[in-house]
Amino acid sequence: MLDFLKEPVQAAQEFFLLTGRAVRNIFRSPHYWDDVAIQMDSIGVGSLPVVVLTGFFGGSIMALQMSRALAAYGSVGKTGMIVSLTLVREFGPVLTGIMVAGRNSSGIASELGSMKVTEQIDAMRALGTDPVQKLVTPRLMATSVMLPLLTIISDFVGMFGGYLIAVFLLNLTGRQYWASVWRALEWNDIVQGLLKPLVFAIIISLIGCYYGLRTSGGTQGVGRSTTQAVVAATVLIFVMDFLITKVFVWWAGIQS
């Protein structure tokens, strides 16, 4: 009767097993540092243009939209505050996460999927290498380091976009804007603004690897895995964002 649950439960189990092995391998030799560096370059440096562009326009849009709402209360001066809070807490991590998921979850899934269907994963095992150690762990490590850094860059670029709007369209002074940006931020915001990309990085890399490694059915299967990886990673980013936000809101409630 519960047969329909079998597949998702099994998939979840396989995903958590892969996660466990990937994390355990961080502390076990051999370490493939070359692969970590290559992945950092591909995931981090490669994603920089798209992250900068989306961050910049994200911040600008936020400043434009919020200034209209704030004008109703005569508080246009607080635009910087709204921009920095939304960017650091939500917009920066989620926007960056989704961009990198679209770019890298798909890339990882298609690369590993192609390797799977051409028996390169089997060959790797046959030639003395653990594919999780060689392929999954470097991607997990690289994404976990690069995504928080990309998020920081995205946050700053977004604030800069907001600054341009504030100064040139809202007639605020630069000092007014940056002071409001700076005052708004608390440690709590910084912590959640950095914790979120770390969790998203784990989702992006491991979902990509998971769908890639379970690919079957030739090139058609690679396409299917790629799509599934992007969809699953994006949905999970939102779900985890909700859960983390809920914890922080609850925590802030206790503190006050």
Partner: protein
């Protein structure tokens, strides 16, 4: 107890392998001894590739036991398996060369990554060069697999399989998808490797003529070519044929027994003979 003349290299004991509740191998038992050649015939989907992958520990048996060099690998953990796998060379069906690495890096891969091999860094390049010259691909070190033809890729993959000089070699459909001339070149390489290094060889194929070459030809190192075996008997007694049908081992025996078989499935393979 005296040592047997030819120690056991690979032994399957009632091995069943399933994927998604479907049996890919059912109750397969056989034993291969040192220096022996085995030709495994079967139609597509008969479990030939699964048999080779099970012998390497790449697929886990659901029941039964697999012994490689008298060590039971059926319950081994992945890390323990690496040691066993370092003694086995495998040619995968589609070559399975790593796309992102050059031919030199591909062939050097087992030397650098198999923990039990421990090849000194200075020896890697000469051994890679030697393995590539063995397959007559000495000038392709810096090329990527995508720059080579199908036959050349297959030869590079053979170089990668033999570079560590493993005593057991598994070839998965070495001639699949190749033209007859290239296919003959590949088979000649297989026989050369078997006769030069005295390796135990398992060849999976759907072409009877591949098996015929293995059973009746040997490599003449002076002339550098294949020649028919002429040792008084017509057949090389150290070649055994096996036939798989839908995951079951339905025949195991010599070429004469194979050709004498009345089974319609088996005789279909034998009749292909050119």
């Amino acid at each position: 107890m005296p040592e047997p003349a030819h120690p056991s290299v690979l032994r399957f004991e009632r091995v069943t392998v399933s994927f998604d509740a479907e049996a890919a191998l059912s109750d397969v038992s056989f034993e291969a001894f040192e220096g022996e050649s085995r030709v495994i015939l079967g139609a597509a989907g008969s479990g030939k590739t699964v048999l080779l992958k099970t012998a390497m520990g790449l697929a886990q048996p659901e029941s039964g036991k697999v012994f490689v060099f008298d060590r039971d690998i059926s319950k081994m953990r992945e890390r323990e398996l690496f040691q066993v796998r370092s003694k086995i060379g495998m040619l995968f069906q589609e070559s399975a060369l790593f796309d992102s690495l050059t031919i030199e890096e591909n062939v050097a891969y087992p030397l650098l990554n198999q923990a039990s091999i421990q090849c000194p860094a200075a020896d890697v390049h000469p051994r890679v060069q030697q393995a590539l010259e063995f397959v007559e691909l000495g000038g392709t070190l810096d090329k990527f697999p995508s720059e080579l033809s199908g036959g050349m890729r297959r030869r590079a993959a053979i170089a990668r399989a033999v570079v560590t000089e493993p005593p057991l070699l598994l070839y998965d459909s070495p001639t699949a998808g190749l033209d007859p001339i290239t296919a003959h070149t590949i088979m000649a390489l297989l026989i050369k490797e078997r006769d030069v290094s005295q390796t135990t060889t398992l060849v999976v194929t759907h072409r009877y003529q591949d098996g015929n070459l293995i059973a009746n030809f040997r490599y003449n190192s002076e002339q550098g070519s294949l020649e028919p075996v002429r040792n008084g008997t017509r057949r090389n007694p150290r070649t055994t044929f096996m036939v798989l049908k839908e995951g079951r081992l339905i025949f195991e025996g010599s070429q004469d027994q194979l050709e004498a078989s009345q089974d319609t499935y088996i005789s279909k393979f034998v009749k292909q003979r050119v």
